[in-house]
Amino acid sequence: MMTFTNRRDFLKALSAASLVAWGIAPRFANAAAKARVVVIGGGYGGAIAAKYLKLAEPGMEVILIEKNKQYVSCPFSNEVIGGHAGMDLLTFGYDNLARRGIKLVFDTVEAIDPEARIVRIKSGTKFNYDYCIVSPGVDFMWNEIEGYEEAASQIMPHAWKAGPQTELLAKQIRDIRDGGVVVISAPADPFRCPPGPYERACEIAGYFKKYKPRSKVIILDAKETFSKKALFEQGWKQHYEGYITWVSGQKGGEVTRVDPKTMTVYTDSGKIQADVVNVIPSQGAGQIAVQAGLAKKGDWCPVNFATFESKIHKNIHVLGDAVDSPMPKSGYSANSHAKVAVAAILAALRNEPLVPPALTNTCYSLIAPDHGISVAHIFELVNGRLVTVKGAGGTSPLDATPEFRRLEAVYAHSWYRNITTEMFG
């Protein structure tokens, strides 16, 4: 608890800001009620930011601009690929957010003018803003793997943005011959959802084990290691012996070229003819962030982690996968970023002191329907850098009981229900 040692300190504390609380100073809070915040992107970062702003400051004008009328979640999309769920589990509408008084605009943002503080959408309409929040997710680096241009993703789906791509890959897995080979090409760090490719391999292998027992999954990786590796490898051994092969970058795993016509995948050490090829291309901050000068193409947006304000443009806060950050690029991270940015914007508008940011990440992966694993991170800001709190977080234990694994799978489902209800409920 705060105590004042002398009268001077006491008077200092009794500054304009504190007087507001007593109702005897001009209410800076009105600035928040009168402000206009434009949020670009209604995903894991943007939807939460819009909702928390509106909850905290019902009078504020919050405009959420989103390309698509429905959001399709990447979290749990691997479940669809494994045949455990349908697209309805992934699909959310924005009606509840609109009901809360958030203005929904379904269009693509084409430009941000950070000097004039104006956002322009495809239809030509312009929105001026006091603060802009940018949460556009990732953009793919086409052709970095030779032959993998955007058109190739219709044959070799990435399924790294959920929607038609998820359905396409799910269908290809369903239609594969027994004895077929699936190649998953995993990119170098950093990329959206570090454990995603390995969880996907589990989902596909689980399907094969049940329906196409002679089929196989080969993960060709640009990296030497990956998220929750020991836990995944343990799970593969336990459930999918003979179904999953992982090839590290040094062992020739890095995919350099693909040929969608012949369904061939090339690495430095040879080529593989596959039946289904899932190329996860390398990524950078979503296009609009690059266009607005918040990051270079193929790179991520530098921000001040106390506020998530861009280090390049004032009054623009960047969230989620697009951010250059040591946090994993996950939905949970995006959610966490959003709350810090909202608190910072409110503090600025209300002329209140900044609270130190609290940032966490929790990420579940399903190895089998009754076998879940998780990782948790608690971050703190030390001299402007985000670092994990020592001794906290980490992955599920390697020696966990089957009951523990089963519970983690159960909790994964509740996690998904909670985070999506928090966003869209």
Binding site: M1, M2, T3, F4, F10, A13, L14, A17, S18, A21, W22, Y52, Y332, N335, S336, K339, V340, A343, E352, P353, V355, P356, P357, A358, L359, T360, T362, S374, A376, I378, V389, G391, A392, G393, G394, S396, T401, E403, F404, L407, E408, V410, Y411, H413, S414, W415, Y416, R417, N418, I419, T421, E422, G425
Partner: protein, 192 residues
Amino acid sequence: MTQAKGKLLLLVVGLVLALSARADLGSMLGNTCAGCHGLNGASAGETMPIIAGLPRDFILMAMKEYREGIRGSTIMGRIAKGYNDQQLMAISEFFAKQTWLPAAQRFDQSVLERGEKLHRKRCEACHRDNGTSMALDMQPLAGQWAGYLRIYMSTCRDAKWKSRHPDAMTSICNDLSDGDVAALVQFYASQK
């Protein structure tokens, strides 16, 4: 104490309260929990407990027990280690301030009688008023998610479950059958 001094003290206390309400460590920290526990702790997932409106000291004790590894968990132990006492207090105060909202869930009429009997015999002494009470810093069981309560009671009964729950719960639950647990859970789901 002179009257003037007393007034000043009151003012200071009031001011400190006002300051702590604004410079809101509790909501900053507490909001990070919502990804799993729901907006303001009102869980929408049937196996995650509703923590909105729980007694402050219950939350604080549970978090400390997770942190020290006394209370069994899958992930909470790893998470609680990230916070010092002051932060755990702020988190607990934040959730205690929220409104407890019973879960909207179905329940199985056919086992309610059995559940109620078991409740009277085993649980009512602490979890008073059919499990609605928060007296003695008990978490309300009435209206809590059945999925969560089932897991909690099952892990209390599981000798292999790594670290123990509060001793009282372990000894009260360990000879309950699966049917008993199901009946109790349904009874609490039916109470609001």
